[in-house]
Chain length 661, copies 2
């Protein structure tokens, strides 16, 4: 309390533990900091295990656990990336055997498609979508179904392995008996309901802002596309798709990066409003809120592309319009999976490169520079200064430690990218792995060289982060189920092959997924201005949907095929979700939480301890009988009157005492 | 080890702790057994809380926990039964407003239905199904959807409350530091694979036997129905349905009761084969296997009725036949929900009445009688004998204690009935409640008067039973989702009302669910022998299915409506399952595992303890300084050299010592 109030009243400007010594100095005695710098905070040792024991010794258990967790996560990403790369390569290898894309690309294919926008767009040949169709196959093949099941089990395995690793570290670091309980006696219960209400309203508002921005980007895309289509410059018109997609993705990324900072501040403000009773409770509430906001921020655009885009377009002759003039956007032929994949890679790589590397390396360097300039000693030579200054002075130039929350948060969002949409992006684990190999050493460098030494804190586990991981893994199962069944064409292909195909092959699938439209049914003012674009008069054009043809009794009604495919899609979601959940539960159940050797070791120590207590008791009785010394006796019997429970000793305390013998 | 080997070699016939005294004796000093008999093992105190403290004192923690659990479960059943009864009453009250059953019962309704069996059955009027349609409404109305969501949350609440109660009992019974760890050092790992294989094969075989028996009962039902239909006696023919259903349900019940015993033995044999390393592991494996087998045994016939019956019948003109002559059975009009309900109530009530009451009361009485006769002292007068005999002799006449497994097992199966199919049987909680009110006192009576006093065993929790409860609660969510969407007519009604109804009401629903069949399309030899049964020539008959009419392009094909309804059904399952799982997680998260007052209390005790340790240390230093006595000093410092961890004390040991001050 003393130092805190002195800091608060400005008597001291800062209080921090000192670093062990200098890193670069060629001093005679090697110190822990130097050792860490050489053996840990160094890119050249990236393939080695981290010296977690030393990290814990120097920075405390809490930071040690973070690096242990990050290490295990990175290690577990290796098999995931391997399988992901194999799945991707499988897609590449089978792209030429894929009948639907072969049919689209076939030169004799002359299916005329309906215009993609009103008036300015014209009819087009399906064969021009050949490239997209082939590319889609890379991410939309049966192997991705296998991969998303694999990744769900991988997530379960990861959680289990972490539990075991944590248990082992707890044992090795003598934490088995430690519990960081914080109980507040204060009963401030009044005036908290308004705070809760503000919280909920604000959280919903923030999520609403995210939605609004996503909607704004959609509007931007639609309107820009329409504007560019009308451009007289043919080059512009040809590059419409690319221009719009790229700029929209960049806008999305920039918005995500900005909102991430805003949401961090909002979450902190909201948590302060709530007046949590303890520091731990404050931290947990803050983390929870920040996570929810950042999660929505990162994943809303992706969820829109995966599940809503291209589904709310209406049909030719009766399109859906936003603000009565903009037609809702469609996906390129081959489903939205390709676009999802592009968006995912841009967001993930962009976030990692900009947020992690630029912000994490650049900003601390900048801050250090500013602090250096401000301290009026810029005139001194760097080396000279270092020699002259005391340890506490050198450390004062370093950035203060701001907690592990940003580091963990970044990893949680990354874990989301790795698990949530893995069905559509099998390379995500590989990107994550590459990022994390750098991340570990980057964080290490930051902790060893850029930050003031943090106050060592004890911790038994990674706390609320474990629950967040578990939550993400749970959500991942259902999202992957929906991606496979709704975003990819996996189910329509299956349904066609087993229910509609005349010869049991995929031949004719493309034709089956396209409905017919009679161009005379276009609304007035919506028909294309350039009907002879393809060189002939079009009477029937095709569009991707399951609807009745113009010549049926109920033209353009949703067809039986649509409902069949929908039913199979939903059935797949149920089967996938429950099978994967069951398998995860089995993994959870098969892998014991405490490693066998650790539990044996703990058990043996307990037996040793009981023996010791027994001997001690006997020895005491012996001494008491032989030489009665009142003062000492009373004291001993008081401190040992828990002998009735000796047969069932508790680990913590005793483990420590046993070890010290 | 000593007494066990003496028992094994037959030197002693039995070893058991003695009861406190006689119950009926008008002795001067009241003993605990008598107190328990009066205040606990007595039907007249059924409305009171159990004296759990006394139960624990007399029988030990393990049995105390069982009764505490049973008490909480019974208590939690009260709100569940109340809501269940209200839901049932809602069904009763709205039965006259139910448009579909009104339409069926309407005198002007003259829909002609297709025959229910080949040749001997004839066409029938839908209005004759009026009674069943009205009865179905009792269990198939929107309130049951609400009720199954309610019961899923109820199950989550129950688990949470039990965790809290257990924590409280742990604190009150000084078990916070106790851990019943059993670690075996023996590394017998060879020769276990064959045992595991035998296990899996046998388990599958046993489950196969269950399936075979269920199938046998189906065959019995089909063939008996066919035989009785051909009977010349008109009374027999009229009572066909009732006779067949009742006998089949009784056969099912008897088979379940017999197989329950067989499976118990099989599970034990299989577990012995596995050679588990510790007693605890043996018990857990045995319980797990027994539960799986008994669960399948109890629920397979019910699952068949709920999800398969009436779904594999084919259609008129192309029925599905078993062994080429027996047509698969259909459900009565109004879905299989009614039959499911009948089967559920018969199985549940039958199991409870016969297994619990008859077996639990009758068999021990019988055994006691046999032992009494065998002991050659039957000539003595009962009272005289009691007076003459020593305590250990009287107790020897009692049944030995055989573990809590059967008691728990029975409750788990009951919990299954209460949660798994609650959507179709809202009165299940009420039946369970009535049974349990008796069960508590019955078990109490058994423990106090019929059994030898069990060896008191310590336990911190109810062990594997908690996991089983959790598993049942999980399975319940998905089964209820399927019952609502597939067994009940809830979804077809919704789909009709919002998609097909011309005026947005339920009028016309019955007609919509019936397909048309042209009787000239019956296969040869399958048409009815009595075509003029209704008094007129039938050309088109109706059957319950969504198929194209004979006059469509694709007659008798599955129609678009079928796929629409199926898609909505599956969507409902997904939404229901995920919403309920989310809500259960929220309940789990909102209710803290440790009651507030207990955690405060534990915290306070810890602070007290730290103070005490500090004072003691100071006192010791004082003593050592003032009067150096080598022997005592050395001893004290050794027994207190864990002072380095005093700042982080662990509950167990210290809680005990604090309390004894």
């Amino acid at each position: 309390m003393g130092i805190t109030s002195l800091l608060g009243s400005g008597v001291y400007t800062a209080a921090y533990p000192l670093h062990d010594g200098d890193i670069n100095e060629e001093s005679a005695e090697p110190n822990d900091r130097k050792l860490l710098y050489e053996e840990w905070a160094n890119y050249s040792v990236f393939y080695k295990y981290q010296p977690i024991g030393l990290v814990r010794k120097y920075f405390g258990e809490k930071i040690g656990l973070y690096f242990a967790w990050l290490g295990l996560y990175t290690q577990m990403l290796i098999p995931a990336s391997l399988v992901g790369v194999i799945v991707f390569l499988y897609g590449c290898a089978t792209v030429d055997d894929n009948i639907p894309s072969m049919e689209i690309c076939h030169p004799r294919n002359n299916i005329t498609m309906c215009p993609l926008c009103d008036r300015v767009c014209s009819y087009w040949k399906l064969s021009t979508a050949c490239g997209t169709a082939r590319a889609s196959h890379l991410f939309d093949n049966p192997a991705t179904v296998f991969f998303s099941i694999f990744m769900a089990l991988w997530a379960a395995m990861f959680m289990e392995h972490w539990k075991r690793r944590q248990m082992r570290l707890n044992y090795e670091w003598d934490l088995t008996g430690f519990e960081d309980e914080e109980v507040s006696d204060s009963q401030i219960k009044n005036n908290r309901l308004p705070a809760y209400m503000t919280n909920i309203v604000m959280m919903l508002l923030m999520i609403g802002v995210t939605f609004a921005i996503v909607f704004g980007v959609i509007l931007y895309r639609i309107s820009t596309k329409a504007a560019l289509h009308m451009s007289s410059n043919p080059t512009t018109r040809n590059n419409v798709q690319l221009t719009v997609k790229t700029t929209a993705a960049i806008i999305n990324l920039v918005v995500i990066l900005i909102l991430d900072e805003v949401y961090g501040a909002v979450a902190r403000w909201l948590t302060v409003l709530e007046v949590p009773k303890t520091d731990k409770s404050f931290e947990e509430r803050l983390i929870f809120k920040t996570f929810i906001l950042k999660f929505f921020n990162a994943f809303t655009p992706i969820i829109y592309i995966a599940f809503f885009r291209g589904r709310l377009v209406g049909r030719p002759g009766s399109y859906l319009y936003v603000f009565e003039s903009y037609r809702m956007e469609e996906c390129a032929h081959g489903g939205c999976l390709m676009e999802l994949c592009i968006q995912l890679s841009i967001t993930m790589l962009g976030k990692q490169l900009i947020q992690n590397n630029l912000f994490e390396i650049g900003v601390p360097k900048l801050k250090k520079l500013i602090r250096y300039i401000r301290s009026k000693q810029g005139a001194f030579q760097e080396e000279e200064r270092q020699k002259k200054l005391q340890r506490y002075e050198t450390d004062h130039f370093l950035e203060p430690f701001a907690g592990l929350t940003p580091e963990y948060m970044e990893m949680m969002i990354q874990f989301g990218f790795v698990t949530l949409f893995v069905a559509s992006f099998p390379l995500a684990p590989l990107f994550a792995l590459l990022n994390n190999i750098i991340e570990i050493r980057l964080d290490a460098k930051k902790f060893v060289t850029e930050l003031r030494r943090p106050v060592a804190a004890r911790a038994k586990d990674i706390g609320i982060w474990y629950n967040i991981l578990k939550g993400v893994a749970k959500v991942a199962v259902i999202i992957n189920a929906f991606v496979i069944s709704f975003t990819s064409d996996f189910i329509p292909r299956m349904v066609y092959q087993y229910m509609y195909s005349p010869d049991g092959t995929m031949h004719g699938f493309v034709n089956h997924t396209l409905s017919y439209f009679n161009v005379s049914h276009f609304q007035d003012g919506k028909e294309t201005m350039d009907p002879l674009h393809l060189g002939y008069r079009v009477e029937i054009c095709r569009y991707k949907d399951y609807r009745e043809p113009p010549w049926s009794d109920t033209p353009y009604e949703i067809s039986k095929e649509f409902w069949t495919v929908l039913a199979v899609r939903l059935a797949f979601v149920i089967v996938f979700q429950n099978v994967v959940m069951l398998m995860s539960d089995i993994v959870d159940w098969l892998i014991p939480d405490i490693p066998k050797d650790i539990s044996l070791q703990i058990h043996k120590e307990k037996i040793l301890l009981v023996d010791l207590f027994m001997k001690e008791e006997q020895g005491k009785i012996h001494i008491l009988e032989s030489r009665p010394s009142t003062g000492g006796k009373e004291n001993c019997s008081r401190s040992n009157n828990n002998n009735s429970t000796v047969a069932h000793p508790r680990s913590g305390l005793h483990t420590n005492s046993t070890k010290s013998f």
